[in-house]
Symmetry: D3
Subunit: 190 residues, 6 copies
Amino acid sequence: MVRRGLFIGRFQPFHNGHLYAVRAILKEVDELIIAVGSAQMSHELDNPFTAGERIEMIRRALNSEEIDPSRYLIIPVPDAPAHRVWVSQVESQTPKFDVVYTNQPLTRRLLSEAGYEVRSIRLYKRDMYEATEIRRRILSGEDWSMLVPREVYDFVKEIDGEGRIRDLAKTDTVSRASGEGLEPKSLEEI
Amino acid sequence: MVRRGLFIGRFQPFHNGHLYAVRAILKEVDELIIAVGSAQMSHELDNPFTAGERIEMIRRALNSEEIDPSRYLIIPVPDAPAHRVWVSQVESQTPKFDVVYTNQPLTRRLLSEAGYEVRSIRLYKRDMYEATEIRRRILSGEDWSMLVPREVYDFVKEIDGEGRIRDLAKTDTVSRASGEGLEPKSLEEI
Amino acid sequence: MVRRGLFIGRFQPFHNGHLYAVRAILKEVDELIIAVGSAQMSHELDNPFTAGERIEMIRRALNSEEIDPSRYLIIPVPDAPAHRVWVSQVESQTPKFDVVYTNQPLTRRLLSEAGYEVRSIRLYKRDMYEATEIRRRILSGEDWSMLVPREVYDFVKEIDGEGRIRDLAKTDTVSRASGEGLEPKSLEEI
Amino acid sequence: MVRRGLFIGRFQPFHNGHLYAVRAILKEVDELIIAVGSAQMSHELDNPFTAGERIEMIRRALNSEEIDPSRYLIIPVPDAPAHRVWVSQVESQTPKFDVVYTNQPLTRRLLSEAGYEVRSIRLYKRDMYEATEIRRRILSGEDWSMLVPREVYDFVKEIDGEGRIRDLAKTDTVSRASGEGLEPKSLEEI
Amino acid sequence: MVRRGLFIGRFQPFHNGHLYAVRAILKEVDELIIAVGSAQMSHELDNPFTAGERIEMIRRALNSEEIDPSRYLIIPVPDAPAHRVWVSQVESQTPKFDVVYTNQPLTRRLLSEAGYEVRSIRLYKRDMYEATEIRRRILSGEDWSMLVPREVYDFVKEIDGEGRIRDLAKTDTVSRASGEGLEPKSLEEI
Amino acid sequence: MVRRGLFIGRFQPFHNGHLYAVRAILKEVDELIIAVGSAQMSHELDNPFTAGERIEMIRRALNSEEIDPSRYLIIPVPDAPAHRVWVSQVESQTPKFDVVYTNQPLTRRLLSEAGYEVRSIRLYKRDMYEATEIRRRILSGEDWSMLVPREVYDFVKEIDGEGRIRDLAKTDTVSRASGEGLEPKSLEEI
């Protein structure tokens, strides 16, 4: 019987810490489902990339690293309308899995309450390899190329992801500067 | 003709202030609808319990206090997609009511604009008997048993509600610490 | 430990067959949750009444029958956005339950796949005591008073439920007559 | 004080019957809100045009007829998640109105229950001037030009609306022919 | 061929800066679509007015300024469930447009990525003529009459918009004071 | 530059016709996105399997056929709230694609209007290899094993998919027999 793991993340963007985790988990399971969470979100400062763009990043990076494509699946999972039904939503969008890998406390809690075995991800240089740091460097114009796989870096350049993140930051700055509490999905203000 | 009141709250959790209010309102009306608001929410620091758990708390507490079960109904009401249709949503989920009890300014405003009589709830030791204080004590490990009916305390213990609140707090702390603005329903971040 | 049953129905309207079932189930369990399904629906030919109106019907009928109000809860449950998450949604809106009573095959299937014990409801004169027959009689102007508890009959009269059902039937007839396939929620056509 | 009417329709497409009704209503009210219902729908056999396309049709037709543009507003109104909140949704999207014009029984019922005065529309040659007849003629290749204002005819041609309706009919035919009950929003089947 | 512009804003409320912009844009295009964004929102401190109220404000102001009503359309556009589909949603609710006017960076970005020409709005005394400043003055009891067209001022008075904004501010203050992070649509807290 | 195709279907279940199509398309493109449409749906007679189950079927079948896993991606795509935004939704959930393969007229229409090249799928023994025929055979107890890849057959047996389809058929039969028009998501009727 195949032992299957579920690795949940938002991958905004997919970075070396994620890649390191994929390698580590593949030593423990036969197959890995990489669930791209908050799949409906994009064009927000904390969620700049669409699910499709994130799938492309992950695919290119894993291909380039010669990780066997028969051993993983990449599946987008949208947020659920309520936390209590989120586990059911994940189950409905993915093949059955035996163990979950995540460090996010709420995700751990929900999956544990539903009876799943949840394991922590051993993080490699956590401070550096995290999405927030990457987005910060992009905003401040610092070099971020060594934090992500080469293919991710090239892809983000290709789709002008840096320009997008900078534009999204302007939105938030303007809003905050004017004392305007931007509603999550309100797109317009003159 | 029966005079019916509507008491709106989130009851996260149901505490002695709520119990005191139920007793007071039952002196003014024949029947009381206890509307459990934001019913779809749970597993958030400010909304830790599901509607079902909150209904169970209220039921056990009122039973133990020997409040006549033929005089009240407990009904979950989910948030509406827009504030302007929220009153209609409440009306669709509950039997007709004549007067509303709430201290929440937005709730008051919406119900008043819709033509309802809205009364304030005389609060008993407001500072102490409030949900925020209870959740704060749970997080800091202080005793909170005297703030809620005995049955609520036991029930929260029974479902490990304290553990859940502490886990939810970790989520928020991690997010804030990393400068990550957690999206309301985004569950995943490595 | 209290043994709790869940009785799921739409109760459009609550009739003698439902009442008979409630009595029968209360012999098998200590407490009963009466879940008013499709709670968001109303003003449709097959779902004429709001959840609030249905709760009122059930409450009045059970009160009149002197069924102990400490032994049951009436809880509206809206449909879920997808069948696969429906069980989680029910669980989130209701206190924990041990056994489910329903004759609806899809409901049985979903709850069984989720691991619940599901029991059939012994139906009393099924042909007569069913919501469809009641709505048919209302449309054809036949007497339907003996199919429902007296309080339900009076309540439907009180809110002009007969007039509403007749109006809803006109909508469907007009639509069908004109070859117009009425979209579920399309309200307008000249 | 301005007396304002609300005329609700789907206008799929806007035809001579609608135009006739607009003229008649403008004799009874000072200002008219033309509410384009089911605004989110399009690309269905019974709802082929987007709200934007329907607004364009109406605008061009009324301009060409030299109906004073200061006397009407055209406003799209999406369907509500539940019938019982639909009136609130209309109220939230439109300026206040005093009287409603519609012949649709459900619409009449909902607005009457909410306390509005609802008037019937005197229909001019109803059999001929109706959206269903127009769509039928398009499908069978018959001439339909005299059923709609010239500008509507030209606009539908301009956006290849006839081709769209024919394609949508294929979808439904294929589905029905194969015994496949097409789900409202299921777009895919090989 | 008519050249059509799209002017996107939330207009909470419509002020002199908006009016100035409408005049300026009408010099560059033949027709203008004034899109009232976040149309489903109201009764929030940053979004106090319903779409219908905002449409009424704009209509009255433009009528009073004798701006030709055949040259503009006012259309409410609700937020989309995800940013990436927002442009499609705008397109579905409005007639075709050739150029977009907005200063909001996210709106610019989304429309640019979709291939639209986006122009900036030359702002007139931006610091003063902005919705935030108006709402601030209302809260502090300062005079705000010269910041908006006379008709907007009268209309806000007429519907007690000042009272509404003050009530909404209480909600937020109470919430913040108690350390309670108010969920966007959570209406209830005792 | 990689040329990428998009193959859209519901795959309820994945059968030999689909497999044949995948092989044919892979001769025309470098990479193939297999989009599992109506991903949120399951437990309906026409949509019995969850997206996760369908992904598992496809994966097992393609693995067994030794189709190179580096050449395809399997991605679930939920239905959009409105047809007009469906293409944007597909684009947001998938990597960029150059050409689309589908025979469904509505899908073709929407993608063509959005500017995509759409190709037909050369069908192999269409009458036999179609999902409807498979579900029909399951219901009538006929052999259906030769219509699907071996792995799909085994998987459906493994999860008792036949039992599920039979239960779902009972639901519809009961509903129809009683003259009850089953609402799409209404789960309950006694």
